[in-house]
């Protein structure tokens, strides 16, 4: 199928070009805009509940303006605080960091980097986006229904999530949450299938698996994780719908609530936890792996040096992906699960430290004797290496059942996962946006503002999440509306204020990014074809987007993507350049 430049110039209506586009590059932008919008809403929520945590019970005008009846008199109601926490988690984990990250960069980069005209099925790709869009709408609508949005934590453990008598948010809000998630899972599932099929079948000539950029490896493993784990969440969600609406007892047994004993026997909430975390843990890597892939690519390009240990990097991605399926029980050490299982999950969980360590040391070795150019993308990648180390290390404590007993469900956990998965994934996302912005919009983003954005973000992000380890080691539980019921936590009033202040500045700092992003789309400097002198195939396509990506033949691939400063050859050698006479392939 050869699409020449002239054929492309047929008339496209606004609807077919911007709304129901089947072009992967446009769908990537749609995922990005939608995901980031959701992320922005998620951040606002976190600022609102951080106000409550920093200054408990104080009135804030912004609560009146944004929350209305959720915050009568300017103070968030206790159950609405839980609704905010729940929706912040849901939106950030699923909508921003799963769809916003994977949706954007898998869509943009898979066809471009493997040398394909488009996704295997453009139609399914479009469908995947629009189902995701509907699920976003349903989730946002749930914020406005009677009783409020779902309020049982993003993990929605029953019976709290199953019984409206237990908390108002478990009424219509929870129903909409479940509907939205069912849609989301459908979207993610067909999207992931598309990614896998595309990577397996549509690689250009010469693009063997050991010549794939690490981004594609990470997207492939991410998609496989999604396909294998999301259906389990769907089944958990459906069973919960049955329990809530049709009187079954999959998760319910021996419950007395609202003045009466329920006629439900034999179910177990632990079953839900197993099903949930069977997705929930791979989900952590669904969020993290694309960021690691993006970082690998950027660290190599911007150090002007091949990524160190390419094959070990692939191996560690595969190892992390494989292990992620047999570690879910570490979320359940103190749930009453058989202690023997706790022992098994301790072993498998701590094993993840090995591939993670390989990745970190390989990054460091890549930087060693490089020639580092601090583009904003590179800054965020270095930031990611830092957060990945910091957050990963505290996993040694949480993954060890003995130590988990005392820090389980405390702020230690909040600090840990926000740093290792939240910040790392967000940094990876920012790095990706700064790096591939020229590919997406044909314009350059402003470097100086990008650098300012990075420094504000990393300082405030650590300022928010690092002190949380101290709160956790003092035994402060998460999801508390206020700590004022416990005098033993009084020492931390000031620390909570500091955390909240950092959170507010972090939020304000993001406007620099938003401004830079929008300004550059319209007024940015025009990008050249290969602004970063990069080796991967996406930079061989024309700056102006065309259907089918390459005007003529698809380029053939002759080498791996990391030939930077190969002794005796050019500074960088794109993948489509044939081996010179007597040249040996680098890997």
């Amino acid at each position: 199928m050869d699409i020449t430049h002239s054929e492309h110039k047929h008339h496209e209506s606004f609807i077919s070009k911007y709304l129901f586009s089947r072009d992967h590059k446009m769908i990537a932008k749609q995922f990005m805009i939608t995901g980031f919008t959701m992320g922005f809403i998620g951040i606002i929520m976190s600022v609102l509940f951080r106000l409550q945590l920093g200054w408990p019970g104080e009135k804030f005008l912004i609560n009146d303006l944004l929350l209305g009846s959720w915050a009568n008199g300017g103070v968030i109601a206790p159950d609405k605080y839980l609704a905010l926490v729940t929706m912040h988690g849901t939106i950030m984990v699923f909508f921003m960091l799963t769809a916003g990250l994977s949706g954007t960069f898998s869509n943009l980069l898979i066809p471009l980097q493997i040398g394909a005209r488009d996704m295997a099925s453009g139609f399914i790709n479009m469908l995947s986006y629009w189902i995701f869009f509907v699920s976003c709408i349903v989730m946002l609508v749930s914020l406005g229904v009677e009783g409020g949005a779902a309020s049982s934590g993003w993990t929605i453990y029953p019976p709290l999530s199953a019984l409206p008598e237990a908390i108002p948010g478990s009424g219509l809000g929870m129903t909409l949450w479940l509907v939205s998630m069912a849609l989301f899972i459908t979207s993610s599932l067909i999207g992931s299938l598309n990614y896998i099929v595309t990577i397996l079948n549509l690689r250009t000539k010469g693009m063997t698996f050991t010549r794939l950029p690490l981004t594609i490896w990470s997207f492939l493993v991410t998609a496989i994780l999604g396909v294998l784990s999301f259906p389990v969440l769907l089944s958990a969600v459906l069973l919960l719908v049955f329990d809530r609406s049709f009187g079954t007892s999959f998760y319910l047994s021996d419950i007395y609530i609202g003045g009466q004993a329920l006629e439900r026997f034999g179910g177990s909430p632990i079953l839900f936890e197993h099903l949930f975390w069977f997705l929930g843990h791979p989900e952590v890597y669904i969020v993290l792996l694309p960021s690691l892939g993006i970082t690998s690519e950027i660290v190599s390009t911007m150090s002007r040096k091949p990524i160190f240990g390419y094959k070990f990097m692939i191996g560690s991605i595969l190892a992390i992906g494989g292990l992620s399926f047999i570690v879910w029980g570490h979320h359940m050490f103190v749930t009453g699960m058989n202690p023997f299982l706790g022992a098994v999950f301790t072993i498998t969980t701590l094993l993840i430290a090995i591939p993670s360590a390989i990745k970190v040391f390989n990054y460091l070795t890549t930087l060693w004797r490089g020639n580092i150019i601090f583009s904003p993308a590179m800054l965020f990648s270095i930031g990611l290496i830092s957060t990945f180390i910091t957050g990963g290390l505290t996993g040694l404590i949480l993954g060890d059942a003995t130590l988990d007993i005392n820090v389980h469900d405390t702020y230690f956990v909040v600090g840990h996962f926000h740093i290792v998965m939240g910040l790392s994934a967000v940094f990876g996302t920012f790095a990706g946006v700064y790096h591939w912005f020229p590919k997406m919009f044909g314009k350059m983003m402003n470097n100086t503002w990008g650098q300012i954005h990075f420094w504000i973000t990393i300082v405030t992000a650590y300022g928010v999440f690092f002190p949380m380890h101290f709160l956790g080691l003092a035994g402060v539980p998460r999801r508390y509306y206020t700590n004022s019921s416990f005098p033993m936590f009084d020492d931390f009033v000031n620390l909570n204020e500091i955390i909240s202040i950092f959170a507010i500045i972090a939020f304000i700092g993001q406007f620099i990014f938003i401004f830079n992003f929008l300004y550059s789309i319209f007024k940015g400097r025009k990008a050249s074809q290969n602004p970063w002198s990069s080796n991967t195939l996406e930079w061989t396509t024309p700056v102006e987007h065309i259907h089918g990506n390459w005007p003529g033949e698809i380029p053939e691939v002759h080498r791996w993507p990391y030939d930077y400063n190969k002794p005796g050859y050019e500074e960088f050698i794109p993948q489509n350049v044939p081996l010179k006479k007597g040249e040996v392939e680098s890997v």
Binding site: L82, Y157, P159, D254, I255, A261, L262, S268, S303, K305, P306, F308, G309, K311, F312, G336, T346, L350, I354, A357, T365, L367, R369, N371, I372, I373, F374, L379, I385, I389, L393, D400, A401, T402, L403, I405, N406, H408, T410, M445, N446, W449, W455, I456, V459, Y462, F466, F470, L473, A474, G475, P477, R479, S485, F486, F492, L495, I501, W532, S533
Partner: protein, 324 residues
């Protein structure tokens, strides 16, 4: 608000610095670089410096946190097994801090040292099996130690006590939003209970026909434990999941409707002794709820008093049994 203005001030200073670095030209701040890869060398140096400054600032911030709040962390474990938990925590903590510091110093120094210089030729260093095996094997060896010690402790902590031994058997009952403790009484056994028997004052749903239940003792607000005697806890929940968290004893277990869970520990210090250790005359052991359970989750608590066995027996005798 004072803090907020201080931070805002620093932020503005920061922006002004950037403004001056760009020659004081506001328009210049919006321009991209003319040649994408050929970044200004000075600008690259600045970024390298900033990473070093950030590293130092990060370290100072951590020291500030330790200095200011290190003393407010949980005191020494008040249970026998808690000492093992704490020592494993110490080993793990030392390893973590060591790796954290070393890798971060490496990261920031590398980034600073190899900031762009047009005369440098980067090394073409694609792989090195020995190095990579080294940093596969090193963490593996550390993990063997951590896993072995961890599992040994985990198994001994989680083994339930023998009911026939001289132990205290207590049921902790969680409901929205309070705790109840039920002591097994003289027979050392807890009477049967069922949600369908919950009625009026019998909110635990205890079977009134069960002889074993007659001497059970039900207490609210606070419960007492004898020092140096093993305590077996059994947990039940009435409505949704809760979690019984007793941080000073390094003890936590979820309370799950439809499932009886358990945990045991031996208190090591009485409340009085702990007040001396922590130098806090108002110190009290506490039981909190640590699993999101609804609106008033944040206020669900019960006081724990650890005292000598004689005091404990006196206190227990002063409470009415279920039959009474």
């Amino acid at each position: 608000m004072l803090l907020l203005s201080a931070f805002a001030f620093i932020l503005i200073l920061f922006l002004i610095t950037f403004f001056y670095l760009k020659g004081g030209d506001f328009k210049e701040m919006f321009k991209g670089n003319p040649d994408d890869l050929n970044f200004d060398e000075q600008e690259n140096k600045t970024q390298g410096w900033l990473f070093v400054a950030f590293g130092i600032g990060f370290l100072l911030f951590i020291l500030f946190l330790i200095f200011k709040w290190g003393g407010s962390l949980l005191p020494e474990a008040a249970s026998v097994h808690g000492a093992d938990v704490d020592s494993l925590m110490l080993i793990t903590g030392i390893i973590i801090i060591f790796v954290f510091v070393v890798t971060h110093i490496l990261l920031f120094v590398l980034v600073y040292k190899y900031a762009f210089n047009k005369n440098r030729k980067p090394a073409f260093f694609t792989h090195n099996l020995k190095l990579e095996l080294l940093w596969t094997a090193l963490p593996a060896m550390v993990l063997v130690v951590l896993i072995s010690v961890g599992l040994y402790n985990w198994n001994s902590i989680m083994t339930p006590l023998d009911e026939n031994d001289d132990i205290v058997l207590i049921e902790l009952y969680a409901k929205q939003f309070d705790w109840t403790a039920r002591y097994a009484g003289n027979d050392g056994k807890l009477g049967r209970a069922n949600v369908f028997l919950i009625k009026g004052s019998n909110f635990l749903g205890i079977d009134t026909t069960d002889v074993v239940a007659f001497d059970d003792k039900i207490v609210k607000n606070e419960f007492h434990l004898p020092v140096n005697k093993p305590v077996q806890f059994v947990f039940r929940a009435q409505d949704v999941m809760h979690s019984a968290y007793m941080p000073h004893f390094r003890a936590q277990m979820n309370c799950v409707p439809g499932l009886k869970t358990q945990f045991n520990f031996t208190p090591k210090y009485t409340t009085q002794e702990m007040r001396r250790i922590t130098k806090n005359p108002d110190f009290d052991y506490i039981l909190l709820c640590n699993k999101i359970c609804g609106m008033a989750h944040f206020s669900m608590k019960m006081k724990i008093v650890v005292e000598s066995e004689e005091d404990y027996n006196l206190w227990l005798a002063s409470n009415q049994s279920f039959k009474q």
